[in-house]
């Protein structure tokens, strides 16, 4: 069956450093992958989408890579700030043309 793994449940880094979060998947051939941010008690917020034919996508301090050979996506936050502290979720289509399924998330804590 399909599986999405976000390798770390929690990641603690210092302000100003680059945070790198990992998402691995098995038994999928997704057309694209998405990343979301979730704050406690709130719904997830869409951040970025990367397609299978894109190696890298950037948005301000965020960068996502997508390696379909390794079946892995990396999510980077550069010059991290305490306000970046949240849980970050990766998501893939369950099957082509259907709903997303989500990894369990990585909780990022940025200390000043």
């Amino acid at each position: 069956s399909q599986k999405i793994e976000q390798n770390s449940e929690a990641l603690n880094i210092q302000e100003g450093k680059t945070a790198t979060l990992t998402c691995n998947y098995t038994n999928y051939s997704p057309a694209y992958l998405q990343w979301y941010r979730q704050d406690p008690g709130r719904g997830p917020v869409f951040l970025l989408l990367i397609r299978e034919n894109e190696k890298e996508k950037r948005k301000e301090r965020l960068k996502v890579t997508f390696d379909t050979t390794l079946k892995q996506s990396l999510f980077h936050i550069t010059a991290s700030q305490p306000a970046d502290s949240a849980t970050y979720l990766c998501a893939l289509e369950h099957q082509a043309g259907t709903a997303l399924i989500f990894g369990k998330g990585t909780t990022l804590s940025v200390s000043s």
């Binding site: 979301y36 869409f46 989408l49 369950h94 709903a99 399924i101």
Partner: protein, 115 residues
């Protein structure tokens, strides 16, 4: 901005009650989804819909049903609430592009407690 509104932020219901969770979106999105989120289990898909009066089962549909009579509204129904349905329920909507759902917009969630 697209808005997804869930009717209740917190809800307490008794075991055996029929519970309705309402979700409305204001951006004419084709797709709507219901998830539940539990500690250690993450977000799990209950049902989704790509069109009015259309529904598809997700990974955990047992004990739930849905209704989509209008494009903007997607209701989740707990036929007979049980304590194991205590959870955070999240509704989402998205556009459909190239036959794939695009980035989701989530509501703020309904924290349901069944006692």
């Amino acid at each position: 901005d697209v808005k997804v509104t869930q009717s209740s932020r917190y809800l307490v219901k008794r075991t055996g009650e029929k519970v309705f969770l309402e979700c409305v979106q204001d951006m004419d999105h084709e797709n709507m989804f219901w998830y539940r989120q539990d500690p250690g289990l993450g977000l799990r898909l209950i049902y989704f819909s790509y069109d009015v009066k259309m529904k598809e089962k997700g990974d955990i549909p047992e004990g739930y049903s849905v209704s989509r009579e209008k494009k903007e509204r997607f209701s989740l129904i707990l036929e007979s609430a049980s304590t194991n349905q205590t959870s955070m329920y999240l509704c989402a909507s998205s556009l459909l592009r190239d036959s794939h759902p695009y980035g989701y917009t989530f509501g703020s969630g309904t924290r349901l407690t069944v006692v």
